[in-house]
């Protein structure tokens, strides 16, 4: 509701209307995907090798919803890098991305400085599509899979339990942000340096044993997602998972980013992570595909 309210507020704001009109005129018709040149408003290294970046991106922020992603151009690279939307402020027209340096592209991103611009395409994909935030929800995130959960968990406020796992204490991110959402946060680390010593799935089992839950949202490494999906299936809880795949176009045109899913009829098909996802109903995903 909060989300809807905010969107409505925004849409009636005169500033936004003027902006969208100008935009629509420039693009000749109303567009769902935008390519924006986004100045970096701030960049903070929130854990070793993990950066929290806020961009000015009024067009994309206006259209964004939780669980979607954007495609960031890294200079001199042919392919853009998909990065989840960690947060957006539709009024301020800003977008928040949290990313980890994994290879050359994210390294380039990490070396950019405030004032420089990223070319960003978005918002892309089907997000978490939160229907009823008065339900009880559990969010399960592992490592760099945590950021995409933040905005959806915000909608649920204290109806959300957020279980996040990291390698070690110093690699943990966004815990305070979830707390600010009003969420109940549980932390696990592989080495026991903070919170539960072990896996998020252990915390999840314990939580589900003791509490009612209507929906689970998960993002993280595939083995974790599979374990969460199994757990949800066993208990008959509705579960959505955010998948990753190497991408090219990011919009659904080139068919490179597939993940095996089941059609309603139960046939195998290769769905596009960029367009049909990244968030899928966990039951649709063929985990060994």
């Amino acid at each position: 509701m909060q989300n809807v309210q905010r969107t409505v507020d925004f849409l009636v704001s005169i500033k936004a209307q003027i902006y969208l009109k100008a935009l629509a005129k420039r693009m000749e018709v109303f567009m769902k995907y935008l390519e924006e040149q986004c100045p970096i408003l701030s960049k903070i290294e929130i854990a070793p090798g993990i950066y929290d970046v806020t961009l000015k991106a009024p067009g994309i922020a206006a259209l964004a919803s939780s669980g979607q992603f954007v495609n960031v151009l890294c200079e001199t690279f042919t392919l853009r890098r998909p990065i989840s939307i960690c947060g957006f402020d539709k009024e301020k027209g800003t977008l928040r991305l949290v990313f980890e340096v994994r290879g050359e592209g994210t390294k380039w991103m990490s070396q950019s400085t405030e004032g420089e611009k990223f070319s960003v395409v978005g918002p892309l994909g089907r997000g978490f599509d939160v229907k009823d935030p008065s339900q009880k929800a559990v969010f399960v995130g592992g490592g760099i899979g945590v950021p995409p959960l933040l905005e959806a968990a915000k909608a649920y406020g204290e109806n959300a339990t957020v279980i996040v796992g990291f390698r070690t204490a110093s690699a943990s991110i966004l815990v305070d942000d979830f707390k600010k959402n009003g969420n109940h946060v549980q932390l696990a680390t592989d080495d026991g340096s903070a919170g539960h010593h072990g896996f998020v799935t252990q915390l999840l089992q314990k939580h589900l044993d003791e509490n009612p839950c209507d929906v689970i949202y998960a993002c993280g490494p595939t083995p974790m997602l599979k374990a969460v999906a199994d757990e949800a299936e066993k208990r008959g809880v509705f579960c959505k998972v955010s998948m990753e795949q190497r991408m090219a176009c990011g919009v659904g045109a080139c068919m490179v980013c597939v993940c095996k899913t089941l059609t309603p009829k139960g046939d195998d098909r290769y769905a596009q992570v960029c367009k049909n996802g990244p968030v899928f109903n966990a039951k649709e995903v063929v985990w060994n595909g």
């Binding site: 693009m27 000749e28 018709v29 567009m31 769902k32 995907y33 935008l34 390519e35 151009l73 690279f77 042919t78 392919l79 853009r80 070319s119 395409v121 795949q245 190497r246 991408m247 090219a248 176009c249 990011g250 919009v251 659904g252 045109a253 080139c254 068919m255 490179v256 980013c257 597939v258 993940c259 095996k260 195998d268 098909r269 290769y270 367009k275 595909g289």
Partner: protein
């Protein structure tokens, strides 16, 4: 401003910029960035007689100034293409090129037959897709193969027939002549070069298909050379494809003899590449005092 329209086999394109098959789907997604009608034409994703699942992922790997893909012709089949994609495409006011694929002669002919009474303006014969086990490459890399499949499809269609050539051959002119002899109306080249990447950590090829098709700026010099060779030795109109990302690239292709160009991978880098290329070409023509783009086609002056 210079006249930008070109005509190929009686079909007129409002400008020589076409988006390349497999990179632009059936147009709907990229239409969210700018209207398709700004394009000279769109070459649709390859279609086969029946729906195809394609290869398992990963299907893409990045390379220096390029990328590899191994989609394996995933597509909804020609019937759904006609039912679901064509009616919308028809309304977009741009030339529609259907990309015809298959794994046997019959497949190709079946797709051509199915498209005969549709709004498709052009058939592009994809005999050069390196990512399918049967058909594809085999047809595309020998004189006999190219001639045979062209002839067969020719007898099943009255639409203008473009044959898309594979660059993975010893003598591109020989292959082009095979297509001409088989009855092609025009040629498009190049499709992708076969390449590979390995993940040094897992020791696995990055692509599940082990190998895939190389595209993007990296291949431009090879594509340009082949377009020049073919345009200089074969009497059919040629459409230049491969690594075009800037207006200069498109101009080089046309100087080398291409009547139009297709842009693929560069759409992934910047979705507005076709518009930027077009604008750059217009400025170039103006600065060169050329009034009609047709005047520059094939005007390279070899040493």
């Amino acid at each position: 401003m210079a006249k930008m329209a070109v005509e190929i086999c009686g079909v007129s394109f409002k400008n020589p910029i076409i988006t390349a098959s497999g990179t632009y789907g059936f147009g709907r997604e990229f239409n969210e960035f700018f209207p398709l009608e700004r394009l000279g034409g769109i070459a649709c994703k390859a279609v086969t007689p029946e729906e195809k699942l394609g290869n398992p992922p990963p299907r893409v790997a990045e390379t220096p100034s390029g990328m590899l893909n191994a989609v394996g012709l995933q597509n909804p089949g020609v019937k759904r293409f006609i039912r679901e994609a064509l009616p919308w495409l028809k309304k977009q006011n741009t030339v529609i090129i259907a990309n015809v694929a298959g794994s046997s002669l019959e497949d190709y002919c079946q797709v051509a037959t199915a498209l005969e009474d549709t709004d498709v303006d052009f058939l592009e014969l994809n005999i050069s897709c390196p990512n399918v086990k049967k058909g594809g490459m085999q047809f595309g890399t020998s004189y006999e193969g190219v001639e045979t499949v062209t002839k067969a499809v020719r007898s099943h269609t009255s639409k203008p027939l473009m044959v898309k050539l594979s660059p993975n051959v010893t003598d591109i002119v020989d292959i082009a002549k095979a297509a001409e002899s088989g009855g092609a109306d025009c040629l498009s080249l190049i499709n992708t070069l076969l390449g590979m990447r390995i993940d040094v950590r897992t020791r696995r090829p990055i692509l599940h298909n082990n190998v895939g098709g190389l595209s993007g700026p990296a291949v431009f010099p090879v594509a340009l050379r082949m377009v020049w060779q073919v345009a200089s030795h074969v009497d059919l109109p040629v459409i230049g494809i491969g690594g075009i990302a800037k207006w200069q690239d498109a101009v080089e292709m046309m100087l080398a003899g291409a009547t139009a160009v297709q842009i693929g991978t560069a759409n992934f880098t910047y979705p507005d590449t076709p518009l930027k290329v077009l604008a750059g070409m217009e400025e170039y023509l103006e600065s060169q005092h050329v009034e009609d783009i047709n005047e520059i086609i094939g005007t390279v002056k070899p040493w």
